[in-house]
Structure formats: structure tokens, C-alpha cells
């Protein structure tokens, strides 16, 4: 075997030549492999890799869109965007870190907390991702940094936008406020816009429900960056598309006036255009300042808001529910007329009404009263007697037709719609039969019935105009409202009674409008908070046990145009607390100077306007230890 394989030099030369050809072939094969692989990457996968190269090269910075404005029915701004000066640091361009931060702290009067935060964020920062030094700066401090820029490489002063509500606390409940996106909201959609610095979304009120319309389209700034994050140059920038403005039916001057006029009280004012259903005013005070939320609320301020027994976080116009008290008497009157009761039929009031062995009290001894005088004097006896005659199941549908217990399709995050009781409702809810004493309580607006100030204003608007108006907050062309099912004669009786309340010998004569040719009609109401103990009658004692004061009204009496409700929590009486406010608010519609004079005199006694009082309150509140605020104030 081995002998046969003896090789000679010639054989080896031959082997060499053969194997050289083989080696050449292998080389060519490997060359072709590389060529094929390269072609595959560069031709078949070209698009994929081009995209990857582009996403390597280009860094996209989102420009948050400017939020759409809120304007009132005359185009006056309610919520706008204020130029917001901020200073950021681009970590990649920073040269002398400690020195720069020290200079900035001096120029911007930063707290040690802020300086610590900046150092911490700079340590974790990614090259070109800006670190915020300060936002919401005034122009002077912003300019102080701007002029020093040549000495501060890496510092970039920027102009952004933040939400601004010129009316401050007056529009807090109406408009809501904006804030940074919460972690859950980001988890839901994962849009990178949501976590862009400076981007805010609506957190409450109309800001929240109209978010889609207000948000707008973000712009994008494209920059070419190296692998280490160094910016080479700016590429094309796409500007943001601002959100669409929203025009409300609100008359912002009237609204602001109403909010100021509420003064130290806890309550609400709702004013309607009673011919169209446009909401002219929906003030609820006290309220937080939405500007505070927009900038990020402080811990002390948050604690102050939450600790207040006047509940500044609650929109009382829509979410406050109260027994309507005597303001419901016109409703009962309409029901009685429908059941055929003659408005001139009299009932003798001897200070009460006996049902079985129980006496239901009236507030006075009114003698013989017909329907008009019963409304004027707010005589309970008349309504006890007549209400018992027709039964409450005949009154409840009238109340519902006038808006009580109803929910309206409005873009507010929540409305509470209360209760209009009847026998079926009581059976359903308590499994009990409706009793005559239930009727007597309900007919004067006590007992089971509760309504929101907003519903009371709808009721006033519908009675005054005779139209089935639908409340609306967004200004737009609408079909004319249909008339109510009541004949004009019936409505006129009730309106007459309401006119006498203010302009006759009624309960609110002191709140008569001091205007020529324009008169107001209304109805007072006083709602018990708890069962009356002894002779106290809810007119004194602790604030939270005092009676609520209510007033519904419309003007002018001759041709009703405006309807309103005023509800003052624990105001002790409609005539005393609510009617004077309604008088001033309606006066403002016709004679601003007179209304303002009245308000300024009052504000002098209260310690200034809303903003001044809140600032003073905040100042006294400070110094007390405060708990940290939760991240989302709506929780």
C-alpha cells in the first residue's frame, strides 16, 4: 500500500497545479458569496436599512401644539396661551457644569431643591435631551439669562406656551384646568407627544371633555445627530397646528361679575338666555385658581383647598344638590292650574295646616290667599291645601317638564340630576306607599325632592319664556325651542305671582331692580339642612347647619330675556342671601356702572377681590405643615 503511494517530485508538481485550481475555485466561491450577500442586503433589504440609517441620523423633537382658546360669546378670551419663558440645559453642550448651574441659580433665584434636582437630572441625562432648569419665568429673569448666554454654553432659553385663564378662580369650575399627563393616561395611548416636556392635557371641566378639539397637532423639529448625541445641524422643522378655539355661550364679563359678587359665600349663580337656552353664566365659588394647576400646584395650596369646608373643588352649579324649598311653588302652581284649580280660589292661612293630628307650619298668618298672593307671600298653607287636593303624582310631571330631575347633554364631565319623587319612585326606592305628608313636604320643596342650581335656572328659564329651552354651553346655531305644554294663561298667573314677590308686597321686595322700565320677577326659597329642633329654625348656630338660601328669577318681567338661579349654601334665607346677589347680577346686564359700584363697596368690606382674598388666605395658611399633594388632584 505504502509502496504504491511513493510520490515523485513530478507527481507533486502535478498535485500542486490541480490543488491550485481548487484553491482558486474556493476563493472565487467565497468572493461570490460575499457579492451575493452584499447584493441581498443592499437591494432586497435596501428599504429597511435605509429607514434604519435615517432613524439613526435624525433625531425628532416634538413641539407641543398650542392649545385652542376658549372665548366667550362676544369673542373675549376665557382661556389663552401665555408665552412661557423657560431655561433648559443641553447636557451635551455644557462645558463648566457646576459653575453654570451656580450662575443660573443666582440669576433665576432658584431654591436648593431645584439645584439638587438639576444636578440629579444632568447626571442621568442623555446627550441632547434637554434638562429643565426653570419654567414659567417672567421676562426680566429670562432676559437676565439671555444676555449672559455667551458665557453659558449649553444653556438654552426657550419660549413655550402655558395655559392662562385671565379670570383666575372665577372660571375654574366652568373650564377646568390642564396638567401633565398621568402615567395611566400615557400607558393607554403611548403617544410620545404625551411625555414631551411642557405638554399638558385637560384634567377637568371643558378642558377635559373637549380635549380632542383643543389639543391640535404637534410640530416636529428634526435635527441631525451623531451616535454620541452631538447635534450637527437642524433639518426641516414642521410647525405645530394649534388646537381649534371653542366659543362658549358664556358672557365672561357677567360670569366674572357673578363670581365676584358671590363674595365670601359658598354658592353658585347660573344665568340663562331664556329664549335660546344659552348659558350666560355658571359661576361656582369658592374655587381653586386653574392657573395654579396649570403651573403645577404647590403642596401648601393643595392642602389649603382640600381643608376648606366651602369645598372649592366642587362645581356647585352642576354637582351641588339642594332641597329647592319654596322656589318650587311656581311649579306646584302650574300643576294646580292644569288640574283645573281656579287661581282666584282662596285658602285661609292661620299659620299652619292640619293633616290628621299633625300641623304643618306656615311662616306667617296670611289670612285668605289666592294663588298669586300665595306665591308672593310664599304661603305654605295654600300649597299644602291645594297640593293635597291634586296629589303629588300630578305635580311631579310638571317639575320634570320644567327640567327638574333631568340630565342635559352638555360637555361637562359630571352632572348630578337629583330627584323628583312620586309614588312609583317611593315604592321602587323604599318599597313604601306615598303618603299625604310626603305630598305636603314635596310641594314646598322639602323632603325627598332635591335639585341642582343649574336645574333651578332651567326651570326659571322655561317658566319665564314658556319655551322648552335646552341648555347649551357651545355657541352655535340651533333650532328654535318648542313651546311648553302649558297654556299662556296658566304661565301668566305664575309669572304674576313671581312679579309680586319682587315688585309687590312679597318676600324679595328689597331686591327690586333700581332700573327704569326694567323689572325682575323671582321666587325665594329657604331650604332646611336638618330637621328643625325647637325654635332654632336653622337661622343661627354652626354655619354648616344653617338653612340654604335660594332664589330663582327672570327679567325683564314684560318680555322675559334672562333667567337665573342663585343658591347660597347655609345662607339662612333666599330673600336675605340669594336675592340681593341675583339683583346685582341682573343689574349688571343693564347698568354695569351701578352694579360695579355696589360690588366694589361690598368687596371693600370683604378684604379685596377674589385674587387678593385668595392670596391673603394663602399667606396666612403658609407656615403650617403641609402634606404632599397627590399627583392628580382629581383623585
Amino acid at each position: 500500500m505504502k509502496i504504491e503511494k511513493q510520490a515523485t517530485s513530478g507527481q507533486l508538481d502535478f498535485t500542486f497545479s490541480r490543488r491550485a485550481v481548487f484553491v482558486g475555485g474556493v476563493q472565487a466561491a467565497i468572493g461570490l458569496t460575499v457579492a451575493a450577500r452584499m447584493s441581498y442586503i443592499a437591494v432586497a433589504d435596501n428599504e429597511k436599512y435605509e429607514l434604519l440609517a435615517e432613524s439613526n441620523r435624525v433625531n425628532l423633537t416634538i413641539i407641543p401644539p398650542r392649545r385652542g382658546w376658549f372665548v366667550d360669546r362676544y369673542g373675549k378670551p376665557i382661556a389663552t396661551n401665555r408665552a412661557d419663558f423657560r431655561v433648559d440645559i443641553i447636557p451635551d453642550r455644557l462645558v463648566r457644569k457646576d459653575e453654570t448651574v451656580r450662575t443660573l441659580a443666582e440669576l433665576l433665584t432658584l431654591s436648593t431643591d431645584d439645584v439638587d434636582r438639576i444636578h440629579r437630572e444632568l447626571k442621568n441625562a442623555q446627550g441632547f435631551q434637554p434638562v429643565q432648569v426653570a419654567a414659567g419665568l417672567d421676562y426680566e429673569r429670562f432676559a437676565a439669562v439671555s444676555v449672559r448666554l455667551p458665557d453659558l454654553p449649553g444653556v438654552t432659553p426657550r419660549q413655550g406656551y402655558s395655559r392662562f385663564y385671565p379670570s383666575g378662580a372665577a372660571v375654574g369650575h366652568l373650564i377646568g384646568y390642564v396638567g401633565t399627563v398621568s402615567a395611566e393616561e400615557y400607558q393607554r395611548s403611548k403617544k410620545p407627544l404625551l411625555i414631551t416636556p411642557g405638554f399638558k392635557v385637560g384634567k377637568d371641566g371643558l378642558e377635559k371633555t373637549l380635549e380632542d378639539r383643543l389639543q391640535g397637532e404637534p410640530g416636529a423639529k428634526r435635527t441631525e445627530v451623531t451616535a454620541r448625541g452631538k447635534i450637527i445641524r437642524d433639518l426641516a422643522t414642521r410647525p405645530d397646528i394649534p388646537g381649534k378655539p371653542v366659543q362658549l355661550t358664556i358672557d365672561i364679563d357677567l360670569h366674572n361679575y357673578a363670581a365676584r359678587r358671590l363674595g365670601l359665600e359658598s354658592g353658585s349663580v347660573v344665568v340663562f338666555d331664556c329664549l335660546t337656552g344659552d348659558i350666560l353664566t355658571m359661576a361656582s365659588m369658592p374655587c381653586y385658581d386653574p392657573n395654579s394647576f396649570s403651573d403645577g400646584i404647590g403642596r401648601v395650596e393643595w392642602k389649603m383647598l382640600n381643608g376648606d369646608d366651602h369645598i372649592p373643588m366642587l362645581n356647585k352649579a352642576l354637582q351641588g344638590l339642594y332641597p329647592p324649598g319654596s322656589t318650587l311653588k311656581p311649579v306646584a302652581g302650574l300643576a294646580m292650574l292644569r288640574q283645573g284649580i281656579d287661581p282666584d280660589e282662596t285658602v285661609v292661612c292661620n299659620g299652619g295646616y292640619r293633616l290628621g293630628n299633625r300641623v304643618f307650619k306656615c311662616l306667617g298668618r296670611h289670612g285668605a290667599v289666592n294663588m298669586r298672593t300665595a306665591i308672593m307671600k310664599s304661603c305654605n298653607t295654600y300649597f299644602y291645601a291645594m297640593g293635597r287636593r291634586i296629589g303629588y303624582d300630578n305635580i311631579a310631571p310638571v317639575g320634570r317638564e320644567l327640567g327638574l330631575g333631568q340630565e342635559f347633554s352638555l360637555p361637562f364631565p359630571s352632572q348630578r340630576y337629583g330627584t323628583v319623587p312620586d309614588s312609583a319612585w317611593k315604592m321602587r326606592k323604599y318599597d313604601q306607599k306615598w303618603t299625604e305628608s310626603d305630598t305636603l313636604n314635596a310641594v314646598i320643596g322639602q323632603g325627598y325632592i332635591i335639585a341642582s342650581p343649574f336645574q333651578l335656572a332651567v326651570m326659571a328659564a322655561r317658566i319665564s319664556s314658556g319655551l322648552h329651552v335646552q341648555p347649551e354651553i357651545l355657541l352655535k346655531k340651533r333650532v328654535a325651542p318648542k313651546p311648553l305644554s302649558f297654556p299662556t294663561e296658566h304661565l301668566d298667573v305664575v309669572r304674576d305671582g313671581m312679579n309680586l314677590v319682587v315688585n309687590g308686597a312679597g318676600t324679595a321686595v328689597r331686591s327690586k331692580l333700581q332700573l327704569e322700565n326694567i323689572t325682575m320677577a323671582g321666587k325665594t326659597g329657604t331650604a332646611q339642612v336638618r330637621r328643625i329642633a325647637g325654635a332654632q329654625r336653622g337661622q343661627s348656630g354652626a354655619w354648616k347647619y344653617r338653612d340654604h338660601g335660594l332664589f330663582v328669577c327672570f327679567a325683564p318681567v314684560a318680555a322675559p330675556r334672562y333667567a337665573a338661579s342663585v343658591v347660597i349654601e347655609h345662607g339662612m334665607g333666599g330673600a336675605r342671601a340669594a336675592a340681593p346677589i341675583a339683583k346685582d347680577v341682573l343689574t349688571f346686564l343693564y347698568d354695569r356702572a351701578q352694579a360695579m359700584a355696589s360690588l366694589e363697596a361690598l368687596e371693600a368690606g370683604w378684604g379685596g377681590n377674589i385674587a387678593q382674598r385668595m392670596a391673603a388666605k394663602y399667606a396666612t395658611f403658609q407656615g403650617q405643615p403641609a402634606a404632599p399633594p397627590p399627583l392628580d388632584p382629581t383623585i
Binding site: K2, D13, A53, V225, A227
Partner: protein
């Protein structure tokens, strides 16, 4: 010899010089662009270095074949000694060191050993009587020649160099006519040993390289980054490339080592597969020239040296290109004549110089009596 060109110039091996000039010139163009349109720091040096080494190679081509044969063994021993010196210096200096700084040039003995290994193997087969080619006498000296320097570089640790030695030696042995069964057997053994080496012989970073090669997307920001970015550069270049000076991957530093190991990706981004095919064509011409010289040589030593050195150059090309297109693990091996870097250029030009010498002196049928 038509009188216009002086005879000594006309006698130069112009074919290979043109091929090299094209490669180096194209490489310099790519390096110029990678530096953002500047000769500094790479392109200018690249060309100057090539010119100096080309002069050296031409000088080497004047040496007769016998000269190379006579210095082969002393050269091998000298480099082995230098490897030991480097290892000791590294030991004293407290770290792995691969080069000796002579002041005007840094010598990397493990690099120079690659052509020396081919010379040594050819020298050995030249001395081996043809009828002993099947015996054990043909094997153990080869193993010895391989083991000694390999052991020195493996403790550095530099696996890439050890593999290059084995490759050079294997090619020479194959061309010399060793029985095919050896190579088939070695291939089978490798299949068995490779996993063992992977698990017990490699350091963690070397294991990573292999793993990441198998699946680069697993670690896009770590060690897989090189391969991913290289593929992005080649893939985004398309057929005609983005144009000279428009490569963003290298210009914006996304492609690491864009001027050395991954210069092919830098090129492909700007010149597309057209540029890639051009380089492949030039390499094809270079390989054809080298193997032709080997076949034309009359002596066994000349044949084996020319073929072995050609394959050494090929080894660099193959490993680098397969790595850059994502078909081989990341290894620190530059692309001959295109990548920036002195050590590899020196090795390549030494190889070329010796092949040129063999082209010029093909020798007679019985070379040892020339």
C-alpha cells in the same frame, strides 16, 4: 521595451502595481470621505505609507529566490524570539502587549509571523524528500512550526493570529501534496473541538463575539452593534450608494471602526454594491496574479511560497468581508490595502514583495542548484 520607457521601469511588475494602486487609491478616497473630506488623519498617511512600502516591495523583488530560502529559518527563529520578548514585556508592564516600539516603527511580531509561517512551511516541504510526503516525517515538524508561535499568541490572547497561522500552514501543506485525508480529518476534528474550545478555551468577550455573530439583533447596542451598523451602512447604500461624502453612518459615527475593520461598510454606503463589486474584482485580479506566479514558478519553494502568501492575503480579505456582511464573527482583521493601518499594510506588502520576487525569479526546474 519600445525605447520610450527606460528598461528598469518597464521591467517592473506593472500588472500587480496597477491593481494595488487602484485598491489603495480607492481606499484613500473612502478614508478621505470618512474623515469628513480631509486628507488628515487617514487618507494622506494611507497613500504615503503605500508608496514607501511599494518601494520596499520592489526592492525585495530584486532579491533572488535563494535569498528568501536562506533567511527563512533564521527569520522564523528571530520572530519566535520577539514573540517571547513581547510576552515578557507585557508581563512586566502588567497588561497584554502585542508590539515592540522601535521609535521610528512599531513592530508587531505576531503579525510578521504570518508570512514567516508560510515561508517556514514552504522551506520545510522543499527540503522534505518527495517520497516522504505521506509519512509521519511530513507531519511532526509542521506541528512544531505551528505550535510554538501559536502558543505564544494564544496566551496574549490573540486567537485570530493563531487561526491565521494555521490557515497559512494548512494551505502550504495542502498545496505541497499532503494527503487529502488529513484535511478531511482536520475538518471533522474541528467540528468536535470547536464547541469544546468555545466553552473551555475562550474568554467571555470572545464567547460573546461568537454568540452575537449568530444573532446580532439580540444585542443591538452592545457587541452586536458593530454588525448591525455595518449591515445598515451596506444596506442603505443600495446599488449606487449615497454618493461620495454623503455616508451618514460613518460621518456621524454610527459605524464603529469605519476607517479600519469596517472600511468596506463605509465604502459600500457611499458607493453601493457597484463599489463593492469593483473591490471584489480587484481582489480577484490580485489573487489570479498571485496564483499565476505560483503556477509559473519553476521551483517547489517558489510555488509554495507564492501560493501560501497569496492565500495569506486572501485570508484577510475573506475574514474581513464575511464579517462586514454579517457572515462571520467580529474579528479585528482589516481589509488589505483599503483599511487604514500600518501593521497590516506592512504585512501585506511584504507578502506582495516576496511574490514579486518569485515572479521575477521563477527559478529553474531544480531550484536548489540554481
Amino acid at each position: 521595451m519600445n525605447g520610450i520607457v527606460p528598461a528598469p521601469i518597464a521591467a517592473l511588475p506593472w500588472r500587480v502595481i496597477f491593481i494595488l494602486m487602484a485598491l489603495v487609491g480607492f481606499g484613500a478616497t473612502v478614508l478621505y470621505s470618512a474623515a469628513g473630506g480631509h486628507l488628515e488623519p487617514w487618507a494622506g498617511k494611507h497613500v504615503l505609507r503605500f508608496i514607501a512600502l511599494l518601494v520596499l516591495a520592489i526592492a525585495m523583488s530584486r532579491m533572488p529566490q535563494g535569498f528568501w530560502k536562506s533567511i527563512t529559518f533564521p527569520l522564523y527563529l528571530l520572530l519566535l524570539l520577539l514573540l517571547v520578548v513581547v510576552e515578557l514585556m507585557g508581563f512586566v508592564g502588567g497588561g497584554s502587549q502585542r508590539w515592540i516600539n522601535l521609535g521610528f516603527i512599531t513592530l508587531q511580531p505576531s503579525e510578521l509571523m504570518k508570512p514567516a509561517m508560510v515561508l517556514a512551511a514552504a522551506w520545510f516541504f522543499d527540503r522534505l524528500p518527495p517520497n516522504r510526503i505521506y509519512g509521519i516525517e511530513a507531519i511532526w515538524p509542521l506541528v512544531l512550526i505551528l505550535i510554538l508561535p501559536s502558543a505564544m499568541v494564544i496566551i496574549q490572547p490573540d486567537f485570530d493570529a493563531a487561526i491565521a497561522y494555521a490557515f497559512g500552514l494548512g494551505v502550504v501543506g495542502f498545496m505541497a501534496g499532503l494527503p487529502l485525508i488529513y484535511f478531511i480529518g482536520a475538518g471533522a476534528a474541528l467540528a468536535v473541538v470547536a464547541p469544546l474550545v468555545y466553552f473551555f478555551g475562550m474568554k467571555a468577550y470572545q464567547q460573546d463575539r461568537v454568540l452575537i455573530f449568530l444573532n446580532p439583533e439580540n444585542d443591538p447596542l452592545g457587541a452586536g452593534y458593530h454588525i448591525t451598523q455595518s449591515k445598515i451602512a451596506i444596506g442603505s447604500g443600495g446599488i449606487f450608494g449615497k454618493g461620495f461624502g454623503n455616508g451618514t453612518q460613518s460621518y456621524l459615527d454610527y459605524l464603529p471602526e469605519g476607517h479600519t475593520d469596517f472600511v468596506f461598510a463605509t465604502m459600500a454606503e457611499e458607493w453601493g454594491i457597484v463599489g463593492g463589486f469593483f473591490i471584489l474584482f480587484l481582489y480577484f485580479m490580485l489573487m489570479r496574479w498571485g496564483l499565476n506566479v505560483a503556477v509559473q514558478s519553476k521551483t517547489r519553494y517558489g510555488k509554495l511560497v507564492a501560493a501560501g502568501l497569496t492565500c495569506t492575503i486572501f485570508f484577510y480579505i475573506m475574514i474581513n468581508l464575511l464579517m462586514v456582511v454579517g457572515l462571520a464573527p467580529v474579528a479585528g482583521i482589516p481589509l488589505p490595502f483599503v483599511s487604514h493601518g500600518g501593521s497590516s499594510m506592512l504585512t501585506m506588502m511584504l507578502c506582495v514583495g516576496i511574490i514579486m520576487s518569485i515572479e521575477r525569479h521563477p527559478g529553474s526546474k531544480h531550484g536548489q542548484f540554481q
